[in-house]
Symmetry: C2
């Protein structure tokens, strides 16, 4: 697995499809993931540290993790099938148990940004997407 | 507090504002809450038991609660200020500790529907909104 960082968010309000870019930490390889506007806004707001008057859905998600004593250990962009990315969230409960939860990459990255968790990608996914970019 | 049930979801794809109605259980008083399209879809999909290929944000929220051993005890539409509803989610952690988390009513109702938790409204909120309907 390679650690990645969110390098760019491209929001075009006139389009249904927004884009985030993940770049390898300390490297140059990067790839885009096409996501929805709602998740793109959630990521963008958090990265720019722009709060909202009311807690939005991903803020609530982060609050729930903290309230229940959980930790988001890491996010992994774990697979790419039929042009679709699959992500996995590794949670640690307060008794130390670790569990993986399936998620869309957009929610996974949004929650990673909210909870300051590292983002990884499986090497095979990176190799595949560098050969031909895929959608979420 | 009065227990309510979700009695109606009105989605107009051409509008920015969607509506859910809460009616008192075993009674006739009901009121609308104006919510966003994203949350309205999340509620509607769950009520109609229409799954999606990939977990959507509120599906992930429900998974996280279960994964971390939490229980959504209840949702309360707790306040109405400046024409805005405020909701509160009561969670029980697996050690029995109960904590209230602030949320928008749309996320609160969506999560209640996903986790089969009861929805309540404070009597004073019901009285106020019956006098003049409010937005989320």
């Amino acid at each position: 697995m390679l650690e990645m960082q969110l390098s760019r968010i491209v929001i075009r309000e006139t389009s249904d499809q927004q884009c985030i870019y993940l770049r390898e930490k300390g490297g140059t390889r990067q790839f885009p993931i096409v996501i929805g506007i709602f998740e793109a806004w959630a990521i963008d707001r958090k990265v720019r540290d722009r709060g909202t008057q009311r807690p939005m859905t991903h803020d609530l998600l982060a609050s729930v993790v903290r309230t229940l004593g959980g930790t988001l250990v890491r996010v992994v962009i774990a697979d790419l099938r039929d042009n679709t990315f699959f992500a996995s969230l590794r949670f640690r409960a307060h008794d130390g148990t670790e569990t993986d939860v399936d998620a869309r990459p957009s929610d996974a990255v949004a929650l990673a940004v909210h909870l300051s968790a590292p983002i990884f990608v499986e090497e095979k996914v990176l190799e595949t997407v560098l050969a031909s970019p895929a959608e979420e």
